[in-house]
Amino acid sequence: MSNHGTEAALLHTHRDDTGAKMGMWLFLFTEVLLFGGMFLVYAVYRFKYPDQFHIAAMELNTAVGTLNTIILLTSSLTVALSIAAIQKGNRFLAMMMLSATLLFACMFMVNKFFEWSTKFSHGIYPGSKELLARPNGQILFFGLYYVMTGLHGLHVLIGMVILTFMLVFIKGKTINPDNYIKLENSGLYWHLVDLIWIFLFPLFYLIQ
């Protein structure tokens, strides 16, 4: 816990919000390279098996994908609104918007759960007999689908944990109108999760 006495104030940790933000952006770039690498694999194999990718993609539900896109875009809005709220000193609204973001994140994961379990029930999962019996290009498509949306889903879950912490911090006034860099950085992470989906969506769900 931080001290508030005058002598202790001299020992108070130096605050560097711009530095903190830079650190966050540098981390985000590593994430971009992580997913970028996978997008690269997708690109090469789609280039190699365009028709197979098309056939495999028809088994994905465009409506669910679109719904998830809308959900994530809206969650980006709510997290941005929560930062705007804390800037304006509206703690209640900030917490409401953050809660809304968490709700949307939940909805996204629930959709993902149903999508995946439907696929599983049709026998389509990495290593399944049904999948391995198909042409190479289709096996690759679904492999990429599971790994990329899976890793993305993991990031959504991690984001939910982070945002929950932020909610607690706002409640405990650790985050306040004079010090909200934690919330901003969490927002940056969340927007990245949205950005990755913005690219995943057309590449997997819109190859019609």
Binding site: L73, L77, A80, D194, P202, L206
Partner: protein, 94 residues
């Protein structure tokens, strides 16, 4: 609280950006239904790029932050571009 952001964006701006994002999403889904071959992919990626630009510049605040962040972004984008280009140059001409 220095240098953080002197420019506080209002709720209205965020909501406008969100509406634009939803509009682009509906455009991209509609276009996907139209068969334009290779062109469809190009347009879909173009729209994704526009959506990203909106998210990065306004939601992520790059537009209003210190210029160094734009430099960061440009460098990492360039890195990715080089990686993709070199990979495809290799793959296509094997």
């Amino acid at each position: 609280m220095e240098g953080n952001t002197k420019h506080n964006i209002g709720y209205g701006t965020y909501i406008l950006v969100w509406i634009a994002l939803l509009a682009f999403t509906s455009i991209t889904v509609t276009i996907a239904g139209v068969n334009l071959g290779m062109f469809t992919l190009f347009i879909a990626l173009l729209i994704a790029a526009v959506k990203s630009a909106l998210v990065i510049n306004i939601f992520m605040h790059i537009r209003f932050d210190e210029p160094i962040f734009k430099v960061f972004l440009a460098l990492s984008g360039l890195t990715l571009l080089i990686i993709f280009s070199l990979t495809f140059l290799d793959y296509i001409y094997r």
